[in-house]
Symmetry: D2
């Protein structure tokens, strides 16, 4: 055990717009923040294409990771002050777990790359596996810092993130249906988008949170605060995360990377604009270091080069992405989705390659679910503790939560070029096609 | 006159965390926002290296430009509602000026490039000249949109930004000691840094603002609100914009670009990492299109390549910049600056090239000044209108403003590697040098 | 028609913590605010005994009334700017209705007295009837001001408040399930209690609000903002308005006034402490002027006198009220309510008059309901307008709203002296009684 | 030592709009809050007549006292965590002082009565002496609670408030130029008025605050935060506390009480409206219990009775006060004050008793002062600690603070009936008098 995980003589702070200050009390945490891998998170936006809908939401994963750390720190403080363990197994909080909890909180997103979900879709990377790799590979600065606590400390931190750590209190702090991660991102995304939907009463939730043998529970008196958090989360999904314009920009991004990959596989990429840092991914043969070089700016820089590509689809998609020219969309369902081939045919007639210029995109989320052992990935349910110590599951006492429990929310949309709705200024020889197309759309839905 | 500058049938909005909503009421404004040149502002941070000190401050110039537009729109609304001109020259507001004011507000920063001041320093570009060029060159999308109002409209908008437009009310809205630009950036930078210092009462200032023949004045009853704005501005400079850590990162950036340029001029840049988009600037021969391709991500991508450079100074500076390893600093003055050569000699002895690893950096600002015809660039002073219509200059009625009027504030600092203070873990053969160095620093100042 | 309802040459403002500024644009509105009847609202708390639970909530009805006016003014502005009527009956907004709407908004609560609901319960007053009387009786300053617009103007304003005014747009602005009254009080009570639950996005709701023939509707795109408002309202009821401690203080207040009335009817009130201003109410024979003399301070002053009453129940209840000594409570339902007589018997044994020291109190609210013609007072439902102009009722498109539609929420509680739970320091001869009592309470509920 | 000052097993909270939560960790504090004397503070407005200018500012002294307690608690927490004393006299914080500090913070204003300054002016009471009496008289509930800690504990708490307590750290926490009292009221009054002027960065100030032998100092790096606090305080005085309308209402209140007193002394008060609770004060012979019966509502109730007085001046002043009919005013100085007798003569001619209807009112405050041993009440100056431990006085390093150090700010005003400016609707036989009067006023000042 080294001085690394001892308390700093005087705490240090980061000024944070969401939590006011983030308090750093261990040299270890400071050293982790100063690693190259962690600093790289400054160059990866938290919300990807959402900033193209909500222009304030340009914040990076760096601030979010500090925020999750800070929420976890406050949970530990509360637990240590009010619920310290007396005898092993009494369900109290053992403050020796603090350091592993703080590290897992800080580093839980360290494996994220630029435009995470889209990048993973095209290049088959996996940010969770990469997180574990960054924690445990001796080559990373993060691993070197963690190892100074103990040789098995990196693996412990990884176990928390992988939910295999034996203490369920620590695991649930970092990942459960009401964890430090979700609590920070709701508040943070709400702050930076400038919407109110993600606001809930963090201080009150932290107050009613209590450890017990099975993990973390909440005092009954805090039921409405927990309910409010679930509703806020639901609303952020509905209003912000599932916004059709952001999803349409993600569709463009997906097809842009797909087109580049297709061209590369067929050796058609222009020589001058070789995307050196992407080659290992086109070749499906990349190292951790290759991955850690990437960030939003690197991808955008290649897109910028591709604006001049001889391939007109690549050039056009790159321009649409950088200059924010979103696709349009309409909701579809099981019935109306049969119309899609017909619409794609019209789009082809209007001069677009429908493979790259249309898409179907689902946005579904389960806002809350009670524990269901039959599910593939059963979720830990939220439980409230009554005065006499008995537990009740949240949706049994909250009408609002009950209303959205176990229900997938969101929609399925068909995306297509804006030109199909507005026509094009220069050419009206497609006018009839546009008219036919538009007859199939009403009140934001396909109609038959 | 085309439909371009007519009102939209229904206003559109952008959700903005600072102003709640930005209201767009003309197709022209919407079209300007959708140009490639304007969208590019999303990829240029408003505060450059300040986000490395205040991690929330990752906002781009895009949001700020919308904000300046919005503040200007509100000023116009207030003027049109309460002070419409009746007869020419009566000092009232002529609402026909609204469109040129709104365009100038929206586009006043369109010429900014990545890491503006540092880039200009090394490559001798000029963002103000480039702004005018973007407005008036027929090749830009911005110019094409503006021309639709009238052939001379782009030049009018440029004239407002260059302060040569005949109507002083329009000019002072956009640039004066209390203009829409400053008002937006104080509030915005305050919001994103998470500090309070830049907060002032925008609604009240907009209420007491009034047009008159000589430009813009403020009702006497609003004196304390204007005073509060000046004090807020002073404090943002002291606390945020002049922060020594951000300045130290700017010093690193400056020397990194300088080193790259030096190497390029001496043909020593590695072939593989050719910074294609920077070549026109190394060659001092760039087009407007070359300039418009640049953004923060492009520069960072080259820095990322340079981490692997065979030139150890370039590689080290690139790493220090991307991984945020700031220099340390101490205040100097006319007397203690004579110590600098001696300290640089020590730094060389400790193994650093003092040309690239040290610097002197001044941060001075004039928080407010009354009009002084003898100055090179006399500023328009802030004037308050009394009940009987007579004007008084702000600093004559506010003790607080008087205290900082005409005084340059800020400091001069000597920047040097952190290793000189902390020593280095591996090597202590420099221990004696470090000791000598440290004797010259006390209470954040050089001492003799 | 006099200058009274013309626009002021320059608008006046009230600084308001909720809406920033309240803008006054007519002399008429200013004159109404300056009446004796309106100023009296400063001395009546908006939330009565709630300030004894949430100490910040000491705000008066005065600010709320200004706020309802301001929200209404903004609705009118939006309607006039975006939906002006072109031909009668086209469903657009006729701005000639503005003045009657603003006056109704400002004055809708003018008939409220101190501790409204409790006072009405004991003395059989009716604040709605009194509001109409204040508007229409020639003796009031309010009536005198209103009459200056037109002789029938007071009656028109009263008609809006009574929902008999012919234009449903005006009526629904002031009273419907999403009106200026509710919108202001949710935001205001949230601000002053310091809770977040009442927050919703007012600006967005005002944006999506539109007039149509049948009254007021909301653009479909604003569905989630309306949903958020309904949920906020539900949560304010659950968390703030139905708080058991505030209700317990209301129970004390109710019994205190009841005891005073009982004593008065039996001629047992002490001579010295004659509550002159209450006599007309004890005598059930009061004038409008008698009513307008009352305020919270007047009642509290009598309570203060009654602390010294020879009647020990009156003195004790007065002291409990002024010194905030709440009763305790437990939830009951149809089954457990049969226990109440038994518990009351125990309470009597412990020395309390159970008539004055216990009570059953229901708090039920219908957070939202669709239109139901079979109801006694059918509510106007909230309708959303789709792109093609068709309307859908809110709960058919919102799962959250659906979950609480038509459901009464709240609880029924049995209130009793705190001593029954804590025992009393001096006396333990009641210990056995307390024990028996406590066996009937578990997890905040009566149990059998 | 009893359980009274031991920590509660689980902390309790008060929801507070300014500090989010106020945390109660000792039974003692809870018991003090529940005393009759403390609960009475709910019925006394913090800002008196200021709520008649800023309608949101209706908050009572109750919340402020909780707030001062909470700020003090946070200071103690920071001191205990970061600067615990090791050996007596080392300048560190001895946490045994916590309880006396918390009690002094909570109770420092317990002696305030309704409309404090005006009441004291007319009836020669002294809220500081009364505070000490409430703490130390065995008859009060507060004293009974405090005595349970130790027999000399009430006197200790009183000593802190009287600044005679030996430990200067405790004294300066509660009263100095930057103490918990001032910090809470600036934030609180700012919140409730809805102005921003009183906002400063409390968290940052608490962070840079440190104990030392001489009391409390601030780390040099926090200089601008302290500066910002001083400037905020200055601005709250200028913008809120010295507002001419509030002062004019105070003038009316003062003359109303004076008139009542004059009438009482000459036995002319109406019998029916005998102000029982004021009699001991008219008679200049009151007990502590008499004093503790008073609150804002009691006074207002008497004013309400006096509306009907046969004395027309008493009735008119009572009506002006309750119905908020402020006097007008103009600034005067040493030169123009000679005009006052002439103006008073005009006012008499226009039918007003100038003794009761005019006044001269000064509002002066010293926003900050360095220590000056020659002053009558020398103030503790604010000192900053440099890295090497040396201290510097604030105004020597802050230009802004220097500008207002030792300067009295505020103005002197002459108050007179509004009728002198507006004329009166009914009567124009005074028109010539009004004209003459108005010639002496320009730009809010008397002119000669």
């Amino acid at each position: 055990m080294t001085s690394q995980h001892q308390r700093l003589p005087m705490e240090k702070v980061f000024r944070d717009p969401v939590h006011d200050y983030v308090y750093i009390q261990h040299q270890l945490i400071l050293d982790l923040i100063n690693t190259s891998e962690f600093q790289r998170l400054r160059r990866i936006k938290q919300l990807g294409t959402t900033s193209l809908t909500f222009h304030g939401a340009e914040h990076s994963r760096f601030g979010h990771c500090l925020g999750v750390y800070e929420v976890t720190r406050r949970i530990c403080d509360n637990f240590a002050r009010n619920y310290p363990t007396q005898t092993p197994g009494d369900g109290g909080w053992d403050d020796k777990e603090r350091l592993v909890a703080l590290c897992a909180a800080l580093l839980h997103d360290i494996g994220h790359g630029p435009y995470s979900h889209t990048f993973e879709h095209i290049f088959h990377t996996d940010h969770e596996a990469l997180t574990v790799q960054i924690l445990t590979s001796p080559e990373t600065e993060v691993n070197q810092v963690l190892r100074q606590v103990a040789p098995d400390f990196p693996a412990k931190v990884a176990a928390v993130i992988q939910k295999t750590y034996p203490n369920p209190q620590v695991v649930q702090m970092i990942s459960s249906q009401i964890d430090a991660d979700r609590m920070d991102y709701l508040l943070r995304d709400s702050y930076f988008t400038g919407t109110n939907y993600g606001n809930f009463d963090l201080t009150r939730i932290l107050r009613v949170m209590k450890p017990y043998q099975g993990g973390i529970t909440f005092a009954m008196e805090g039921m409405h605060a927990v309910e409010d958090y679930i509703v806020s989360r639901f609303q952020m999904y509905m209003q912000v995360y599932f916004h059709p314009v952001s999803r349409s920009m993600e569709v463009i991004l997906d097809h842009l990377l797909e087109r580049a990959n297709d061209l590369y596989q067929s050796h058609s990429v222009d020589a001058e604009a070789t995307p050196h840092m992407l080659l290992p991914f086109f070749n499906n043969n990349f190292t951790l270091q290759d991955y850690l070089r990437l960030d939003d700016g690197v991808l955008n820089t290649y897109f910028n080069h591709w604006r001049d590509s001889k391939d007109s689809i690549l050039a056009d998609l790159a321009t649409r992405f950088l200059d924010r020219r979103p696709l349009k969309s309409a909701r579809i369902d099981n019935t109306t989705s049969q119309l899609v081939p017909e619409l794609q045919a019209l789009i082809e007639k209007a001069g677009f390659n429908s493979h790259y210029y249309t898409d179907i995109n689902d946005s579904y989320d389960l806002p809350y679910d009670a524990y269901d052992p039959k599910m593939k990935k059963p979720r830990t349910q939220i439980e409230l503790m009554q005065e006499d110590g008995s537990l009740v599951e949240l949706s049994t006492v909250s009408d609002l939560v009950h209303a959205i429990t176990g229900k997938v929310s969101g929609d399925q949309r068909f995306f297509f070029p804006k030109e199909m709705l507005n026509g094009s200024e220069q050419v009206d020889l497609f006018e009839a096609i546009y008219q036919t197309f538009q007859h199939h759309i009403q009140n934001d839905r396909l109609i038959i």
